[in-house]
Each structure stands twice: as C-alpha cells, then as structure tokens.
Amino acid sequence: MEIKFIYCCSLIRKQLPLFIMKTFIFLLCTSLFSFNSIDGFSQQKIKIKEDKIVSVDEVFRIITKQSNFSFIYPEELFETSPKIELKKGVFELKKLLDYTLSSSNVNFKLSENNVIIIEERNSLQNKQNNQGIPITGTVSDQNGQPLPGANILEKGTFNGTQSDFDGNFSLDVANENSILVISYLGFTTQEISLNGKSVINVKLIENTASLDEVVVVGYGTVKKENLTGAVESISSRQIENNIGPNTSQILQGVAPNLNITLDNGGINEEANINIRGVGSINGGNPLILIDGVQGNLDRINPRDIASISVLKDAASASIYGARAAFGVILVSTKNARSGNITINYNTNYGWSSPTIRTDNFITDGLDWARLSDKLSLLENTSTYLGYTQEDYDYLEARRLDPTLPSVLIKDVNGAERYIHYGNTDWWNTLFSDQQLSAEHNLSLSGGTDKMNFYLSGRYYKRDGIYKINKDKLNTYTIRAKIEAKPYKWLNIGNSINVYKKDYSEPATNTRRVSGSDNSEDWRKYTFHAAPLYLPRNPDGSLIIQGAYTNNRDIADGTFADILNGKSRAEENDFEVFNTTSVAIKLAKGLEIKGDYSFRNRNQSEWVRIISTPFTNQPNGEGVALYKENTQIYKELERRTLYQAINAYADYTFHPLKDHTFSALVGFNQEWNTFKRNIASRNGNLSENLNSFNLATGDNIFLNSTEEEWAIRAGFFRFKYNFLNKYLIEFNGRFDLSSRFPVDNRLGLFPSTSVAWKLSEENFWSKIKPYIGTLKLRGSFGSLGNQNIGAYDYISTMDVRQSNYISDGSRINYLSTPDPVSSNFTWETSETLDFGFDISAFKNRFTTTFDWFRRDIKDMLTQGAQLPSVFGATEPQENAADLRTKGFELSVNWNDQFNAGNKPFNYRIGFILGDSRTHITKFDNPNGDFQQFYVGQEIGEIWGYTVEGFFETDDEYLSHADQTRVNERIQNNYLINHPVAGDIKFSDLDGDGEITSGDRTLDNPGDLRRIGNTNARYNYGITLGADYAGFDLNVFAQGIMQRDWNPGTDNGFFWGPFARQYQNFYPKSIESNSWSPDNPNAYFPRLAVYAERGGPYEGAQLGVNSDKYLQNAAYLRIKNITLGYTLPENLSDKLHVTSLRLYATGTNLFTFSPIYKNNPDRTVDPEQLGNGNDYPFTKTYVFGLDVKL
C-alpha cells in the first residue's frame, strides 16, 4: 500500500510567524479528531535492517512499508523533533512507536482502516489523565510577550502540555520537587525546579544562533537550516539594548560586513550603510525594504522591528535585480498577535557628551596669544592679533592677579575701544556636554484568530550640542497594523507608518544657504576666536571684531550670531508609508499575494539669518550690523511620492517522495516622483517671524527641480529539496528602468545557489552528537546597478542664477549641456559565494562563514581621458570593472546552567568582516594614480617617506631639493628654505629632488603606496548574561586596520599647524613639536598652514607622508546595558506583568592607536576628515520597561 500523508492543516504556511503556526496546529488537531482503540495493534512486528538515524517521518515510512497501517498527522508536526536512532532488529509496532514518539509531545491512536492518528497532547487531556499536584504558569519571551504553544514537560516523564494563546499553561505533576523542562522553537530550553511552588512564570531567552530560526528572504521566508544563500539574520533582541536617535545608528557592528558609518555626531544624522565594502566607483547603497517595500530605516521605530535580514550574495538578492547590486536589507516589523491585548511601555532618559576631550584645548589667553604671534611672525611681518607689548605686560600682570579687570578701554584708531584680556573657554561657552534625551514607546497588540492588530507609538527627543540657542530634535513614529482573515483562504492586511521629525537649530551668517545645501559650516567656529576675547563686552554688547584687528572676525561672526540668537533654522520631515496586502490560497500549496504601497514624504526647511549688531566701543558707540548681505529668509520644500506594486504566486508540491519543489513567480513595478522648491529673499522685516511677506529685498532666488523614475520587473524563484539534504535554488529577475535609453533598458539578472547538509548523511551519525549541523553552501549570480541620475543619458540644460549682475539683478542663464554617451547601460555585479553553517554541542555553539568575490562590471565611469580641448568632463561610459573579495564570520556560544537553583544564561558572540577591492579594468594606460588604474586597490594612499627632521639650518643644501613639498616655506614664510626642525623627505628615486614624478606607476617620483583608507576587519563582540532577574549586555565594535591622513584643515589634530588663528589647539601641540631641546618630537618645528597645497605638493604637513599617516584602528565599547527585572511577587503588587529597569552607556570607552599622536584625545577615530563637524557623543541612559 502506498504511503498516505494527509495534510490536515493546509493553512500552515512557512511565512506565517511561528507562534501562529503553533496555535493553529494546536487548535485544529484538538478539534478534528476523536479516537478508538483496536486490539491486535501491538502484535505487528517491524524489522529494522541496520543501525541508522532517521527522522520520525522516516520511521512511519518504514512501518507503512512493512504493515498495512498508515498515518495521519499534521504535516509539520515532527519538523522540530529530534532524529531517532534505530538499532538493527525486529520490534513490536507499539514499542517502536512509543520509542519513536517518546521525545515528541504527542499521542497516537489507532483509527478505522488501520490508520494511526497522531495528535499533539493538550493540557485538558493531561489534566483529566493525571492525578497530581496542579501547577499553573505562563511562558513568555524576554520582552514579556506570551509564547503560545510552548512545550512544558515534566522532566523524566512523558507528562507535558503546551501553553495557550496567552502563554498560560497548567499541568499536574507527580512531585512537588519535579523539574519542568520548557522549550520553544527558537528559544533556549529552560529547566525549572518547582521546589514546592505551584505558580511558575517562565521567560524564555531567544536563541539567536539557532538554526531552527525562520529567516525572512526576498518574497518569502525560509528556515535558516534550509538557506542556500548568504543571509544574515538580526533579531530584535540583538538591537534592543542599543539606544539611539534612529535605527541605522543602532545597527552598527551588529552583523559582519554590514558596515555602518556616521559622518558626524549630529543628532539629526542618518548613518551610511554598506554591505561587503566598496560598491561601484559610483557609489551605491544597499536596497532597504521594510516589509517588502523600499523605505528608510531611520523613519521607522527601532522597536517595531521584529527582525532584519541582510541579503549579501547575488543569489539571495537577485530576486530584487537592478537595485540589489550592493546587498539588500529586509526589515520585518512586528506583527499583530492574537490573544489578549498586551501593552508595553518603555521609556528612557539620558544625556550625552562629546567623545573627544573638549577640555584639552588651550584656553589661556596669554598662552594662546604667544603661540599665535610666534607662528604669525613666521610668515608675516606683523602679528595676527596686533596686541602690543603693553597689552602683554597687562596679560602677565593679570595672570598673577586675576582680580584685575579682564577688559580695559583704550584709545585705538581714533576711538575708545574695549581691549579684551580674557581666558575664554569658547568650546564650553558655546557647547554643552550634557545633551539631554528622552524616549517613550508604547505598543498594544491583540485580537482574535479572524482579526488582529498592532499599534505602536514612539516619541524621541534630544537636545543637541549648543548650550545657548539650543538645537532640538523631536521625532514621532506611529505604526498601525491590522490583519483580517475573513475566510480561511483569504488574508487581508494593512500597515501604516507615520513619521514626523522636527529639528530646530541655531543658524549663523556662514550657513551655506545657496542651493539645496543648508548646512552650517563648522569650520568657521574654529576661526579667529582667540581665548583673549570674552563673549561679550562689559556692557553686554557683542564683540566680533577686536580693537586691533577689525578685519579678523571672531569665529567669522558665528559665535556672536549664536549668542544673539535671532538666526535659526528648522527642518521638518513628514512621511506616511502605507502598505495594503492580500494573500489568497488558491489550492493546496498554491498561494498568490499582492500588495500596493505608497510612501508620501514632505520635507520642509526654513532658515532665517538676521545680522547681529556688534561693536568694540563702549557706550553704544560704533554699533554696526554684521554682514548685512547674508541676512536672508529661505524656504526649501521637497515632496516625494513613491508607489510600488508587488504580485507573486508561490507553489510548493511534492510530486515524488523525498522531493520537494517550490516555485515563485512575480511582478513588481515602482515609480517615484520628486519635486524640490527653493525660495529665498533678503530684507527680513522681522527678527522672529518667518514669511516671505516679511522679506522685501531684491535678492530673490527661486529654483525648482522635478524628476521621476520608474522600474518594472518580473522575477522568479525555483527551489528543489531532495531528502532535506540537497538543496538547490534558482532566482532571477528582469528589470526595465526608465534611467536608461530605450534600447538599453532591459537587464536580466539570474542566480543559482546550492546547499548540502552534510550532517544529514549517514556517515555523519558518529559526529552528530557533537556537531549537529554542518551545511555547505555555494552561490553565483548577477545583479544590476541603477544607482544613477534619473536622466543621465539625456543631454539637458537648466536655468541658473549667475553672480553676474545686469540691470540691477543677478542674471539668469542656461547651463551648458553636458556631453552624454550613446553607450550607456546597466552596471552589473556578479557574486560568487561559498559558506558554511555549523551548529554544535546541542546548538550551544553556532558559526557561519562566507567567502565572497564580487565583480562589478561595466561600471559607468568617465570615458577615457580626452585632451583638455574637449572642454568638458568626459561622458560616462560602461568602461570599468572592479573586484571585491572578502569574508564574514560569526561565532556564537549560548549556554545555560543552574546556579543556586536559578538558571544562568550567557552568550558570547563575535563577528568579523573584511573586504578589499581592486580595479580590474579602467582605461588608464599610463597608470596615472590620480585616477583609477588596473590593479589599484581602492583607498590606497600615495605619499612620501620621511627620513626625519633637518638637524641644522643648512642641512637642506646637502639634501635633495624639497622645493615642491616645501612650496609653502619657499614662497610664504619669511625664511625661504627648510631649516632645522623641518621634515626631511627621502629621495627614493635618487634624482636629487623630492617630486611626485609623473604621478604614474612608471614614474611615481619619490612617492610610494604608504597606506590605505579602507576600514579593514570590522568586528563586533557581544557578551550577555541573565541571572536572577539581572541582565547584562556588553557590545564592543571596532576596526583593526585603517590609515588616515588627518584632513589638512583639522585643527583638532594639527592645532596651529593648520592655521594660526584656529582657536581649538590641543594643549600638547607645542610640547609635541620639534625644538632644539626636543629634537625627537612627533611634529616638526611649529609653522602654520599645514593644509596648503595638495597631497603631493605644497606644504610639508599637507602632503601625504608615512610619518603623519595615522593608524585609525579602534575598539569602541559601543554599549553596556545592565537591566533588572522585578521578581514576580513585586510586579504583581504593582499590577503589572513585568517591569524592567535598565541603565545603558553608549560609546563609553574608545581605544585607538591614534591617541599616540593625539594625547589630548581631541580627535575621534571614527570621525575622520577635517574634524570640523558635529562631534560624536557618548551617552548615558536610564530606562524602564513595563508590560501590562
């Protein structure tokens, strides 16, 4: 007789969340069947021919073959059951079944027609059958969410039950000291000693490393053990301790080769995300999908995230085709849960301060002035400050007697003026080191099996760094999800996310208000604000220009603008993101799904700049308005409407035993319109109001940009699974994009992946108790990149406003059309990936490793360089290739033991990712390394080699000619040649001259590759433990290798070497500089303008050199969280289900070799560039989690 499986639970679908599945099994199986007993059942004998380890299903197959019995049971009932070890021999059917099912929480009954019906045990039956001590309790996850369908087993018996919808269970046990074993798929199993207690509330800890986990992949889900591609799954648990303004910031270091970097520490800053290193030379970011639709991580509530899947290889991503060349991030938001309504409330309060030591700047007026004068006189005939000897005498006197007034009035340039003699700590005057933040989160969830909902809201508020005239961020997020199942075959859902952000900040006259850039120029904050100046004159008026130096404005007027407080800017962002979805079960194994989404975003900004009144004279004399030409009112508005349709059908079938096929075909189209309007006008009538009605000037600027794009695609997936050991998958997609000319619009992107579960083979049986799972994976596929402008293939002109004035206004003009290439199509990326997954020691140890090679082909790049007479940038052509190779590794250890009768859970995780990218094709036959060339590693730095310092003033005469690298000294300093204490460069090519040759590989002059800016070996370390209500998590993140040339304007690093008038000099800079008494110092003799010139010519510190290349590796303790959950009896008294208190510190400690040369720690190894930007912060947070 043929084996006959009956699928009584056809509603079970893999993509449904696990607990719903469990619930349905439970419900349906208990209601559908009743059982009779039939005699003679046990007489049946079954012969086992050899020792083997098989699945439960396999045992049934053997029985069916040798008897006339058949089985009926829910299809996936034994998916989680352990394998059965069968010994050679002949066994009674009853005994074999008992043995087979002993570890599964099921009953079996013989029905008519020799059908054996297997069903899950339920609590009611157990209650009736057992006469013991009644125990009740609830099972929940660590967030207090009830876990329906968890298994509760009395240890050493078959006595067990499952929890209900609300996680409640009751069980009669034999002994008041019994031990309960509580297990749930995807969670670490716990054993609880009753010790006479009759109420047991258990919190299961999610086992993040478990291979049983269900992973969201493109247009579906798959059990992690059946993955064939390189997919990293991040559970909500991994990020819930990370507290930050937005989601991207809290994902840093969580997954290997998911590289997240921030340009600065602004409270409004969104992170840069990159998967597996350098994408195309044209950039290119991962595709981010929220519940299947393109969206932005930072506009959803981090606490709404259920899981994140990072699709890294082409095979996993190719179903997203043209937009997925650089990986895909799939975010799944939390779903509604049926059952009683649960309410969670979370709140936290914190404060932040800069990670750099802002107290290590020189703030002593006299020290600063002396240093500045010394440097000024090196390159100028007069001092920069203009303070006289008499003033210096007074400063000396004031140092001895601080009670002397800090401001005197003197007659200078024909008027009485204030002369300042202060010691102003400008940083701490303007900026705060206690930036407060607060977060509130509330979520509700509940419903019935026909209809459920999830509703959440978040309010996050943060004050920024400005002490006076503060900057403030307020964000609001609301998510509402509703799901209805009017029929068994129909599921309709709607999910809406509303995001609102308000960011208000001070503005100054140097704000870049032109065009669409509104950013504040932090560099200006460091100019000219000598500590000598007090923020205000004694009469309270603002000072911008000192009495002697009417041309050098303190912080270019920015500090006075902030103190004056009239100039402000505000950004508002409002987005509604709605997805409506339908799922229809057409037939057994066949389901079709469709969704329509729109995302409507409105961003608006305004900037109001009001000229600040200032003077350096007493009695209200000489008051003028600062830079009246910058006074302006500006508004900027951006509107985006994005729409997407997805429709796909999924079919799974088993044509033959041991063979499972599934197929998916789908259709996707997306279209987007974007419009931006900018308007500004000068002549503000009001200092406080914002309206064009109140601006009357002639300087009117209007600009609008509008663009749209569309893509349309078809995609498929075909999967085949043989014996659950051999898996193969084909994915593919064709895309049509509006960004390419008609003939080049179509892109076809196929991929394939295979996996072999080695551990399922018979020969593995001896190893299996130790290494339970070993899976090998391999994949290859291609993807497209359409990350280019909407109309890059068309030559266009637009109207712009000129600086040329005619007829009393700035003239408008048409821009020159850029040359475009006729040959212009997709960039493609091909990825080869090999990986393995291991779980060992009963799932306590898991590890995943992937090696990959990604070839980006036909990259759009400037065509071959043409002679300059061409007169334009060469049009882009698909002419370059690059190759990235790398790996990622994650290792996890998860365990539990009992300490003092309480479970102690702990886990250790380590991730490591790395990639290197080389150019494999680029039209640069001369090997000019200022462009890309074949063989070049992306990020390489060419520079000179430093031999040391000149020891005498004449030594330069006998050394190679350094004119080109000492151009600054040669032309601008008052001595025109290098002297003792200047840098001596090595003449590598021995031509008697330090030069950069032709800057080609053949003739690099004295340059060589001295380093690489690529961040190598990104790693993360997680340590976690829970015990007796306490939980501790430590998360460290870092990179092992990275070279950095400090930005030439980086005064925080270079101090006065950058400019003698920057005000934030590290205190140690002078003692770290060469002097006859300190010939082994790190820096050369003090001199200004390190930054002038370029990387190969100009100033001796401005050119790249090995000595001043910094090692920007770092290890940062990103997060330490300590939490305490109140014991049940206490939370009961408070009438809450649970209550957890926690404290979190972010960015608390940083270790980096960079500090060797920056002992004042005024630079942050994560914040590179010129440093003149919003500083990174460390944050302390205290919070509370309540469940009702």
Binding site: N380, T381, S382, Y384, G386, Y487, W489, L490, Q545, N551, R552, D553, D556, V582, L586, Y596, K627, E628, N629, F667, Q669, N682, T705, E706, E707, W709, A710, I711, S737, S738, R745, Y791, I794, S795, T796, M797, N803, Y804, I805, R810, I811, N812, Y813, L814, T816, P817, G863, Q865, L866, P867, S868, V869, F870, G871, D928, T963, N972, N976, D998, R999
Partner: protein
C-alpha cells in the same frame, strides 16, 4: 468561492492597469534639451548670459598686477623667480577649454532661432566672447589650436590637432571681433557687451599682438597696430564714452574707482557687485588687512609719477634719497589718489591716516579702489570693478599712432592730454617729449628706438600710471619684451637709517625701523633684517625678500608652459620653446 474569484479578478485588473506602455518613458521635468532651446530671442539671451560668468573679477583685474613690477607683496611670484613649474594635470595652468565649448555650442545651435534680429545680436555676443577667450589663450600660450565647433568624443582629428600659429589665431580673433562689431548693438550699458566694447577689445588685441610682433620680431606688426588705431579711433569718434571728470583733479580719479556703481560715462564694461544682491568682494580687505598679501606699490612706479609741473620726478637731483614726505610733494595728483600719501583720508573719514606698514610691505599702501571703512571686512566690499574703460582706448590710440610713427600733437590732445586734464596735469607735448626723452624711462625700456622714442616712453609712463592695478602691466611688459625688468629686486620706501620717522611732518614720530627689538614706543614699528632689508644695508629703500633669486629667462618665460598631461594625451601638441 465566488468571493475568491472576484478578488482574483480585481487583483489582476489592478496589475494589468499598470501595464501601459509609456510607463518607463520619463522625460526630464525641470530641464530642457538643447534641441528644444535656441528657438527664441529669450533662449539666445539666456544662453549667451552664461558667457558673462567668464569675465574676470577681482583676481584677473587687481591681483594680476602682482605679477608685474607695479606691486610688492608678501611673496615673490614664480614668474619673477624663474621657477615656474610645468603643470602636471591636463587642463590645469590655464589650459582649460570649457568656456570655448560653451560658446561653440551656441554657434552649433543658434541658427535654429527664427528671430533674425536676435540671431544677429546674440551671435555678436558669442563672437565677442570667443575672441576674448582666444585672446587670453594667445597671451598666455602663443600658438594654440583653433576650434569653432564643439568637439565630440569621437572627433579624433580635432582632439589631436596640433597648435595653430599665433598669426592664424590672431586672424581668427579679428574675424570674430569684426563680426561682433558689426552685430552688436550700441546701447550704452556697462554690464553688457556692445559694439564699443568689441571695438575696444579689438584695439586691445591688435595693439598687444602688433607690438608683440614688433618687439619680439614677427610679420605684420604694423598692420595690426594700424587696426588697433582704427578701432580705438572709432570708439573715440562714434561712441558716447568720455573721461569722467567733475573738475576736481584731486578726487575724480579716485572716485572713479571707489564708486559703488560703475560710472557709465567712462566705464565701458564692469563687473558689478552689490550688498543687496549678496555679490560681494574683499577689495578693501585685500588692501587694508595685515593678514592678506600686504600689497604696496613699488618704488619703480612711484618714481614714474611726474611732478605736477609735468617734469619727471626723477629729473630732480637726489630724488633717490627723498623721504616719503618729500617725494609726495608736487606730484601728479593720481599718485595721492593711488597710494596713501601724507594727508590721506579714507573716503568718509575725517582724520588723515598714514600708510600701515603691517598691511603694505613696501610702505606705499594702496588707496586706489579703497572705499569707506564699512567695506573693510572680509567679503564686505561691493563696489563695481572695471573691465573695459575708455581711458584704455585713448592710451591704445596714442600708443598705436606713436609706434606707427603717425602721431601728431592733435592725436595726443584727444587722448593722453584728456587723461592729464582730468587730474590737472599739463599736457604732453610731442616735440618736447621727443627732443629730450626721459633718461630714466629710456634706461628702463632700452629697446624702444626711432624718432618717436621720447613720446612712446611718455605714453608708456602714462599707461602705467593711469592703469595701475587694473591688470595690464604684466601683459605690457611681455609684449614690449621687457621681461628682464622682472628680475630687479623691487624696492619700497626710502629711509635714511634705523630709528624713528615722522612720515607726515606733523612733529610726532609715526614709525620706528629697528633691528632686534624696538627701542622707542612709536605707533608703528618695522623690523629690518628679517624679510625686509634696506638697499644700502643701514639705509636706503625697503627691499623685501632680498635673499630670493630673481630670474627671467627670455628664451622661454614670455610664454607659459602647456600641461604635461595634455602633451601626453595629444602627441601632436608641442610644448612652448625651452619648457621641456
């Protein structure tokens, strides 16, 4: 199951409705293609407006004199030290061609316009700007390739073209200018080019190239100089421009350059600035701030100013050791309107101020272009800058006629003497000038010969004085083949020794020259022995950077080198002589 079918049908309907064929055709929404432009007069105007962006501002006008012997500043340019580098990167060092492509795209498209008058007018603008583009290339590089159509990526012949001779380029520039002169209107608008600016440019180009060929050797010099004369004469005869004069010889010259709005009577083309429109400059800052270039005039030009009697300053015995007060007496009034002399007051100021030695390395601090104190800050200035002014046309006219040997007194009376009249100076007399050429000038410009030497030298004096800081001097030295003048160590003010000085003769000391550290407590101090030395050791003229080598190699330095990168990219492109 009926529900089910309906749902499926609805779903399919939604999907199919999205499948209209033009879904993927998305044309630009806020830009136009060249094919859809160049149709109307407004289109042509908008496109040619972009050419005006190329006109010089501050850098090309005022700073350009830093290369010459007019100005001392805080550094020595490579043009004077002889160590100019061959630029490495293609397209750098002035070898940029984007502006030409922009203009040639106009020529490729403008014929489509249906408005014939607009075609004439705006092609005139384009011809003007192409001529200006090539004039600048000619001055800098000599031979350059000529293009009159935009180059495509595949136009190998054009891309790899060798250089055309400067004779050919000059010919083409003149052809363009003749079309510009014919096509452009005659509206007197100083921020738009018109027929008169085109004529002025033609006069400028022809004089430059004509005298260049005359002094460096070359064919057709006189023809070109004659064209310069004719063009200049046409401006004089036909245009509405005149020399700005209100009858105040001591302020008119200065007011012309300090006027916030260009004075249209004389300024033919201006670069405008406006506080209200936030188009600003840093002119005052440049001349008054101690952290800028510390610019000051050289002794060489200060000595060039005549005495108000019309006699050369250098004809006085012992003039070399006149102190500042003494040398400032009885001079051409333009001197006290160009630099701070004793008694100088700022515009809008009430008390006199002295030169600030911390803002002027020579001591001769600039007053020309300097406005009232409210514009002193960095980017706080907003006065217009002249690009073409009528005075230059008069100077071209006189120089051309003098060089051709056709100059008559009447010619001087309508040119040089108009300029002199504005500042109350006696007129230049041709026979007096030719009978006793000024020996100082003769020594300076020793390659001038012929019967008109005297008057040519005086016209050169007039040109240098009148046009100082307007960006002409370096080009003049190049075309006159006087590059060797750049080898001199430029001097500043004269001092009889170390110690205190009363600069304005009011009885109190204003400045101390010291070595080591100051002895007295004078308002200003100047260290001798560091950057600045005195020409005779313990006394003499200030000489900054006396330790620098100065060198002008006549075999190569009259032209600039072509970037190495471009020569690599185009093997047919030859480097300028002796730059290899």
């Amino acid at each position: 199951m009926k529900m089910k079918k309906i749902t499926i049908i609805l779903l399919l309907a939604v999907l199919l409705s999205g499948c209209n064929d033009d879904f993927l055709d998305r044309a630009p929404l806020s830009e136009i293609s060249p094919e859809n432009s160049f149709n109307t007069a407004a289109d042509l105007e908008l496109y040619t407006n972009s050419f005006y962006n190329d006109l010089s501002g501050f850098g090309g006008i005022i700073e350009n004199d830093n290369l010459s012997d007019n100005v001392l500043f805080n550094g020595v340019p490579r043009e004077q030290t002889g160590d100019r580098l061959i630029p490495a990167e293609a397209g750098s060092g002035g070898w940029s061609w984007g502006d030409l492509r922009k203009i040639n795209i106009f020529f490729e498209n403008f014929e489509r316009c249906t408005d014939e008058a607009a075609k004439i007018e705006y092609s005139g603008v384009a011809y003007f700007f192409r001529a200006l583009f090539y004039y600048n290339k000619l001055k800098r590089f000599g031979d350059v390739p000529w293009y009159e159509t935009p180059i495509g990526t595949g136009d190998t012949d054009l891309l790899l073209k060798p250089r055309d001779s400067r004779v050919f380029i000059t010919q083409k520039i003149i052809e363009d200018l003749d079309k510009a002169i014919e096509n452009l209107n005659t509206d007197q608008s100083s921020d738009r080019v018109n027929r008169w600016t085109a004529l002025a440019l033609k006069a400028r180009v022809c004089l430059f190239e004509g005298t260049f060929r005359k002094y460096h050797g070359g064919q057709g010099a006189d023809e070109l100089i004659n064209l310069a004369e004719l063009a200049a004469k046409r401006v004089i005869d036909e245009s509405p421009y005149k020399i700005y004069s209100t009858g105040n010889p001591n302020t008119d010259y200065r007011d012309l350059f300090a006027s916030n709005d260009a004075i249209d009577d004389e300024i033919m083309l201006t670069r405008r600035y406006s506080l209200n429109l936030d188009v600003i400059n840093s002119i005052n800052y440049y001349f008054t701030s101690p952290t800028q270039s510390d610019v000051g005039l050289t002794k060489s030009i200060v000595d060039t100013y005549l005495l108000d009697s019309g006699l050369p300053f250098t004809s006085q015995s012992g003039y070399e050791s006149f102190d500042f007060l003494q040398e400032s007496q009885n001079r051409d009034p333009r001197m006290s309107q160009t630099i701070r002399t004793p008694g100088y007051t700022r515009i809008g100021g009430s008390s006199s101020v002295l030169p600030d030695f911390s803002a002027s390395i020579s001591g001769y601090q600039i007053a020309k272009f300097v406005n009232d104190e409210s514009q002193d800050g960095f980017q706080a200035g907003y006065q217009d800058l002249p690009i073409f002014r009528y005075a230059e046309v008069l100077l071209i006219f006189a120089e051309a006629k003098a060089e051709l040997g056709t100059l008559a007194q009447a010619d001087l009376d309508i040119s040089i003497n108009v300029l002199r009249a504005r500042v109350g100076m006696p007129g230049l007399n041709i026979s007096a000038a030719n009978s006793i050429p000024d020996p100082m000038l003769q020594a300076r410009y020793s390659n001038v010969s012929g019967p008109n030497v005297g008057v040519i030298l005086e016209i050169r004096r007039e040109r240098r004085v009148e046009l100082v800081l307007e960006g002409f001097r370096y080009d003049d030295l190049m075309r006159w083949k006087n590059g060797k003048l750049l080898e001199e160590y430029f001097k500043g003010m004269y001092f009889s020794g170390l110690g205190q000085f009363d600069l304005d003769g009011n009885g109190s000391f204003d400045l101390e020259l010291f070595q080591g550290s100051p002895v007295f407590s004078t308002p200003q101090t100047l260290e001798i022995g560091g950057v600045i030395t005195l020409s005779n050791g313990t006394n003499g003229n200030l000489i900054p950077f006396a330790d620098r080598t100065k060198n002008f190699d006549e075999s190569k330095d009259y032209l600039y080198p072509i970037p190495f990168g471009d020569i690599q990219l185009n093997p047919n492109l030859t480097q300028n002589p002796n730059w290899d």
